[in-house]
């Protein structure tokens, strides 16, 4: 961290948090799939 140039530091601070977007997309997608599985795979078959 100490060796980082001011230019790199500025670039990081101004960059888009792509990793966060990817993680959040995976979490939301996973939740949607899990919800659909529970609804169609567990809830509806029970009548």
């Amino acid at each position: 961290m100490d060796q980082m140039s001011e230019e790199d530091r500025k670039r990081i601070l101004e960059s888009s948090p792509v990793g966060t977007f990817a993680l959040m997309s995976a979490v939301i997608g996973g939740m949607a799939v899990a919800w659909l599985f529970l609804y169609y795979g567990v809830f509806l078959p029970r009548g």
Binding site: M4, T20, M31
Partner: protein, 541 residues
């Protein structure tokens, strides 16, 4: 940070909170053992329900209220850089709340208040329980008043300036708690205390459950907001970075405070006293309140990503590895978010109008709320304690390694405890039962899950003991490394110089809450006075 008097005030609150916590942890392990039926000598429904009630009250009311008050005093003085407004009043609130706890503890521990922490009538407890609980809540109202006065005084003294985010969140929580606790206060004052004292012969359980539903959901956000506050104002700095957005944090706190309130009927989906239209309205609101949690998740993870990249992390996920995993605050937030994902999913299932029927009143529900409360919320209370303790007492933490181990154990224990709990719910195990020993094929299938829960509970109990041991050793350490630092609040990437009043004040949002509450609870409560209803006789003590 703040004077010795404030530190003493905060520490007193925090010690009461954690004393309640450790007692409740032992009770929790006893309960899971008793319920399993593996040790016949433990079988006792009266003791079990006395324990469950005490465990719930200690965790949900005593730990939380005292922790939030102690944390709030620390945040207010540190962020506003001004002393506690009216210190004698603050101590008055503390002692009032503590007397309330002692008063409620007597019937709880003697089995005369085995009404669980939701205390739904017509089951009734000894009057001392309700009076004690009332004093506890009134003590917390003193704290709310002090927070809002300090918030208001600072704004008056600093016109046009931005209220520090930590104080904005704390004041929003004080406002939320005043609104939240009003529902249960009405129930206790006008229904339960008169019933327990014999002033009235019958009680309307429908009205009581409606009033409790007013409180039952937003109380979760009252507990969570200190955790979210730490997410936003401590974590980015501890990770070595910056807060991604101060404005998004404020929006999240506002939406939490406003939409946590008018949504409680998702606890009443199966109840007959409210019409389906009202339940649907509250159900939609429940999904709205998921938004600030998503915003919080995004903002905090983005802040961690910035910190990880500033520490040399590369690639889409390489920044995760460069985060300081041995920093208790950073580790806690990562584990808290993981538990929030699974707990949040469980909450979405609970809130789904149709699917709720599948898990209603099953073991799924305590599995869910233990994951959200015992998991996400409590692990952040640990992190806050580890961060504040050295600053409050001026001594370095006894052992950071022990703290990191404790946090991992809490996470592992919570996963092992709550996963089978959810599965048991799907297998049909009811909640609020003291025994599962029916010896048929269905209940025999529950046994392996019960065993796992005992194991998970033991890990949690060990973790809780390590936590208390570390704090005690820190406080009693005769040769400590001195600490004279201040609380360090995270800076946003883009400094906030000016904000519109709706992001810097609470008056508008207080009015919005009043309108939403009138719409969502007005008629559902008034209907009980428009129609002829017949109350239930009390049963219990």
């Amino acid at each position: 940070m703040n004077g010795a008097a404030t530190k003493k005030l905060a520490l007193s609150h925090l010690w009461v909170a954690f004393a309640a916590f450790i007692v409740a942890c032992f009770m929790g392990e006893y309960q899971v053992l008793e319920r399993s039926g593996f040790i016949p000598a433990l079988d006792s429904a009266p003791v079990y329900f006395a324990s469950v009630s005490t465990h719930g009250v200690l965790m949900a009311f005593v730990l939380t209220i005292f922790f939030i008050m102690g944390f709030g005093y620390t945040i207010a003085t540190a962020s506003l850089k001004q002393p506690v407004w009216n210190m004698p009043l603050a101590w008055g609130g503390f002692w009032l709340a503590l007397v309330g706890v002692v008063l409620a503890a007597v019937p709880l521990l003697t089995g005369k208040a085995s009404v669980l922490y939701t205390f739904y009538p017509p089951i009734v407890a000894h009057a001392a329980f309700y009076i004690g609980a009332t004093l506890l809540v009134v003590g917390s109202w003193v704290w709310c008043a002090i927070m809002l006065v300090m918030f208001s005084q600072w704004k008056t003294a600093n016109p046009g300036q931005t209220v520090p985010l930590a104080m904005f969140a704390t004041a929003a929580n004080a406002m939320l708690w005043l609104w939240t606790s009003a529902g249960v206060a009405l129930e206790v004052l006008f229904q339960l205390i008169p019933l327990s004292l014999g002033w009235i012969d019958t009680v309307d359980p429908g009205l009581a459950r409606t009033l409790f539903a007013w409180t039952l959901h937003p109380i979760v956000y009252f507990w969570l907001i200190p955790a979210y506050t730490a997410f936003y104002v401590f974590v980015p700095k501890q990770a070595g970075g910056y807060l991604f957005s101060d404005e998004m944090a404020r929006i999240a706190f506002i939406v939490l405070a406003v939409f946590a309130l008018p949504i409680g009927f998702h606890h009443l989906y199966m109840d007959p006293e409210q019409a389906s239209g009202w339940k649907l309205l509250h159900g939609i609101g429940t999904f709205v309140v998921a938004l600030p949690t998503l915003v919080t998740g995004f903002t905090v993870i983005a802040s961690l990503e910035i910190a990880g990249r500033l520490r040399g992390g590369k690639g889409l996920f390489g920044w995760i590895l460069t985060l300081p995993w041995t920093n208790t605050m950073v580790l806690s937030v990562i584990l808290a978010l993981l538990m929030l994902i699974f707990g949040g999913f469980g909450g979405i299932v609970n809130a789904s109008y149709a699917m709720n029927a599948m898990i209603h009143n099953t073991a799924w529900v305590p599995g869910h709320f233990h994951l959200i409360f015992g998991g996400t919320t409590i692990i952040m209370y640990f992190a806050i304690a580890y961060y504040l303790w050295p600053l409050l007492i001026g001594k370095a933490l006894f052992s950071n390694t022990m703290a990191v181990t404790q946090l991992w154990l809490w996470f592992i224990g919570m996963a092992i405890l709550t996963t089978p709990w959810h599965v048991l719910g799907l297998l049909g195990q009811p909640r609020r039962i003291s025994s599962v020993v029916y010896n048929n094929l269905l209940t025999l299938a529950w046994k392996p899950y019960e065993f796992m829960m005992i194991f998970g509970g033991l890990i949690l109990l060990g973790s809780a003991c390590l936590f208390i041991y570390n704090l005690v050793k820190t406080q009693l350490n005769p040769t400590p490394e001195a600490v004279a630092g201040e609380i360090e609040f995270a800076e946003p990437i883009h400094a906030v110089t000016a904000l519109p009043e709706y992001l810097n004040g609470l008056k508008l949002w207080n009015k919005v809450i009043a309108v939403l509450m009138a719409v969502s609870f007005g008629y559902p409560i008034l209907q009980f006075f428009f129609m002829k209803t017949f109350g239930s006789s009390a049963w219990g003590y």
